[in-house]
Symmetry: C2
Subunit: 219 residues, 2 copies
């Protein structure tokens, strides 16, 4: 068997796509300095958190239970800094709450969760529930598989939707509200880290005290 038995890129003339570096067209001696040149001792905030906002944590609590907790929209009442007063609207699975960062700001949330992949996506928006454009992408991973120890890894990411830069529905905002959610984008990395720390502390407290991760009041 040869190492190139598969016809990789055979649909592309001469198998060359501009900008693609593969060991065939850029050997180790050529590529190593390219890689090393991409590495930095420090990275600017915008390079890391400009367009996406990745935050990760290990949590010493069972992954299936952490997933079930996150998949319940009401968990946001506990581990977020400022989302409070969740009530289900007349539209099934669409929840209304208040983001107390924005005074009397309403926030709408629909949670889309997949128990097999253990993804939990919070589709949210300030002020209105018709277009849920603030998407919190989360995923619970079994730490036994990825870190060789019991517990959970929680991955969280947000994408910089253009509406963060400009409110597309200003008519739905409370009069004279001085802030817009996108004003906080540059602080999301720290704010989400703070909330991830909350999630970790709450789940680990419950796990260590023999309490269900998803509390009984959510049952």
């Amino acid at each position: 068997m040869t190492l190139s038995a598969l016809p990789a890129l055979s649909d592309i003339p001469e198998a060359v796509v501009p900008g693609v570096l593969r060991i065939e067209n850029s050997d180790k001696d050529t590529t190593t300095p390219i890689i090393v040149d991409m590495l930095r001792s420090v990275y600017p905030h915008d390079q890391i958190f400009g367009d996406f906002c990745p935050v990760q944590a290990y949590i010493a609590a069972p992954p299936r239970e952490v997933y079930e907790y996150l998949a319940d929209t009401r968990s946001l009442e506990e581990w977020t800094y400022s989302l409070r007063g969740f009530v289900e609207t007349e539209e099934p699975e669409l929840w209304l709450a208040y983001d107390r960062l924005g005074d009397a700001t309403e926030i709408y949330t629909r949670t889309v969760a997949n128990p097999d992949a253990m993804t939990v996506d919070y589709h949210c928006a300030w002020d209105q529930g018709k277009h849920l454009w603030m998407i919190y992408l989360m995923r619970v991973v079994d730490a036994q598989v990825v870190l060789n120890k019991p517990g959970s890894v929680v991955l969280w990411n947000n994408c910089r939707h253009p509406f963060y830069d400009e409110n597309p529905y200003p008519e739905t905002a409370p009069p004279k509200r001085p802030v817009w959610v996108g004003d906080f984008w540059d602080m999301f990395s720290a704010g989400h880290q703070l909330e991830m720390d909350n999630l970790k502390a709450i789940c680990e407290y419950r796990a260590a005290h023999g309490l269900p991760i998803k509390p009984e009041w959510m049952a």
Copy 2:
């Protein structure tokens, strides 16, 4: 309705967990300087890429097609820098290839994909296929939802499994191999960015030229 209608943390004495910051116990004036103090103009490499390796990209190609492409293990033959010669082993869905970074190093891969969540996890290992501990966690997201434009967002993360620091199965390695996969952990952020750039370039080339994202040779 009051803002605290739900009995958040009611299973916990006085609803206080050490280290948890919520607007009830840490108001905006108290919390803002905490958040600001977490922000930096630059972040050290290890803080960002020490325990996890998040990489993200926007790709101008349809998300369902990008997912289907990634979900086929053989796509790695195209967009990775050095994984070549994929053949299915006698164990169904377990593939053998060579990581040409490690000369004659075998790499085993089982791909676990979820079409609803569009997660694609490559469970891999150098040298042996019994314990697949190198887990590449990927996910395709519809950019229309998260960025308000057609295309895909690809999220990719790896967790620093302890075996990166020490090969747990040295007896399976080729004799006198001078490198171990974990030697490259500190370069993963750049190496994975390079490979993400490959993935983006290949998918965008195909999309722009009317070619199927998953090429016919994989059908």
